[in-house]
């Protein structure tokens, strides 16, 4: 396993226990989703996995070695996307935001400029490079935050609610980024309330509830288990509920519109 978080406990000041026994793991090329209700500790778990918070007990292993011992150099192997882009964008311009990490890794400004240019093109940020990030729209800010972590090519992507407050077009762009990252062999961890997004992308799903993680099972098993989803204040994907209501009886319940369309094309009809 590339990244393994084992039995972590964490309390915030004031004895607020957020995590009691939380674990998850993710390997190269895999997309793992962590779902849970608001305040269940998803963000805290990602901050611990990124080595930004120290757990009261438990372990975080990167490539089998304790992450703590590999810091700060190991941070270049982990890309953390914050839920609120305004928390993540702290540089005066979009260019500086993209160049921030490169200036630590590359020796000349020409190299930095060349790489920023490639990512600006890819994430449609060319015309925004001189703008202050806080003046951008939510979708643009999200593209900047994604580009700013992908630009240093980390092995692990920790994405905290990457689709929150985004338009459907921007959600599609995020989906594309996640797909490309997993195809490139990166380990991706996403926390989300968006069950359709999870259904489309995740290989495995963990549910976090009362500071405990449950599951770690396949997406199909997790998203068809209404009791498990109830712990995360979530319901199965709408297409799954619709197909159940219509009386579809298929071997693999459709979790996405694409899977539903495929089932229809294969001749399944309501019973």
């Amino acid at each position: 396993m590339l990244l393994k978080v084992e039995k972590v406990r964490f309390k915030y000041p004031g004895n607020v226990e957020v995590l009691r026994n939380a674990s998850f793991n993710v390997d190269r090329g895999e997309v793992v989703a962590i779902i849970g209700s608001n305040g269940s500790g998803k963000t805290t778990l990602l901050l611990i996995a990124a080595g930004l918070l120290k757990p009261d007990s438990g372990l975080v292993l990167l490539d089998g070695e304790p992450l703590e011992k590999q810091l700060p150099e190991a941070r270049r192997r982990i890309g953390l996307l914050f839920q609120d882009p305004d928390d993540q964008l702290f540089n005066p311009t979009v260019y500086d935001e993209l160049a921030f990490t490169l200036r630590q890794l590359l020796s000349s400004e020409e190299e930095v400029k060349a790489k920023v240019s490639i990512f600006a093109e890819k994430f449609r940020l060319k015309g925004l490079l001189d703008k202050p990030p806080y003046r951008l729209s939510v979708g643009e800010k999200r593209r900047v935050t994604l580009a700013s972590i992908l630009i240093y090519d980390p092995d692990v992507l920790l994405l905290d609610e990457p689709t929150a407050n985004l338009s459907s077009k921007s959600v599609e762009e995020v989906e594309q980024v996640v797909l490309e990252a997993s195809e490139a062999g990166k380990a991706v961890v996403i926390t989300s309330h968006d069950v359709e997004f999870v259904a489309k992308l995740a290989n495995r799903v963990y549910v976090i509830s009362n500071g405990l993680t449950l599951g770690g099972i396949s997406t199909a098993s997790a998203l068809t288990d209404e009791n498990l989803l109830a712990l995360a204040d979530m319901k199965p994907p709408i297409i799954l509920r619709a197909s159940k209501l219509l009386g579809f009886n298929v071997k693999e319940p459709p979790l996405t519109i694409e899977a539903f369309a495929k089932a229809l094309n294969e001749g399944y009809r309501p019973s």
Binding site: R75, D86, D87, P92, D96, F100, Q104, E109, D130
Partner: protein, 273 residues
């Protein structure tokens, strides 16, 4: 819906910061020389005696604003706010400065006496504060906030200070935006016209929330900075050379600016207060 005075003030402040937070309007000026000139003239205006020099600096700031022309309205707002504020805080000077009495204000149990020297001191103070703010804002408009930060780096100010200056321009508008949102949420729930004290009390609860939000944002900012810091030392900053290369006429302008900034304090010594 009619907004509260606090709400309108915060909105105006946010808009002004936004207006001032622009790209350099004239990239032909060297940021270090411009900032140094700004500091010299601001200090000269602040520490001058009499009215001639601050008036001259005020006129110079008007000329610079008209020349740069990014947002005259923002400049006027800053100057007016500073003028009103300094006038307000310096009013006691008119009463406490001893000298020739020009007016008396009987207040029942006591009489307030206005002295000529007091009024002169009051006006001189207001003029000094206003001209200092006016000239600095005018220079600020020429090179923009980013230019100011580059100028600070050019002056070899410690990198921690320039980083803080750079962060503040991102977070001041965010902080103000949050304050406006919190106020709106409270105002939206004021259903009937209450006593001013009660309404004011409700609105002041924003301060506690703002402090908490500020703390949370700072906590997350620290995490964001650490998440992208792969080395223990501060990351390398953008090179100063990314500023547009200056040509001969630009260098002449810089020279003129610097000459003017140095000439005005000398002028003060020559012409007196």
């Amino acid at each position: 819906m009619k907004r509260s005075l606090t709400h309108s003030f915060l909105e105006a402040l946010r808009d002004t910061v936004n207006d001032l937070n622009h790209e350099a309007s004239l990239k032909s000026f060297n940021p270090t020389i411009t900032l140094l000139s700004a500091l010299i003239l601001t200090a000269t205006a602040s520490f001058s005696t009499g009215v001639k020099l601050p008036t001259l600096i005020l006129l110079l700031s008007v000329a610079l604003t008209l020349y740069a022309r990014p947002s005259t309205y923002a400049w006027v707002k800053v100057v007016l706010i500073v003028a009103l504020w300094s006038l307000l805080v310096s009013i006691p000077l008119a009463f406490i400065t001893s000298g020739e009495i020009i007016a008396s204000l009987p207040l029942g149990f006591a009489t307030l006496r206005v002295s000529r020297e007091g009024v002169n001191t009051l006006l001189a103070f207001t003029l000094r504060a206003t001209s200092a703010a006016a000239i600095f804002t005018a220079f600020y408009q020429i090179i923009g906030w980013r230019g100011m930060v580059k100028g600070l780096r050019g002056l070899r100010v410690p990198s921690e200070l320039t980083a803080m200056a750079s962060l503040s321009i991102t977070y001041i508008p965010l902080f103000l935006r949050e304050a406006v949102r919190l106020l709106s949420a409270r105002e939206a729930r004021i259903m009937k016209k209450g006593r001013l004290r009660r309404v004011w009390w409700m609105l002041t609860t924003v301060i506690g929330d703002l402090m908490l939000k500020g703390y949370e944002r700072a906590w997350r900012l620290e995490k964001a900075l650490r998440a992208k810091s792969f080395v223990e030392t501060s990351p390398r900053s953008a090179p100063l050379s990314s500023w547009r290369p200056l040509k001969a006429p630009d260098r002449l302008k810089d020279l003129g600016l610097m000459g003017l900034a140095l000439f005005i304090p000398v002028l003060n010594l020559l012409i007196g207060p």
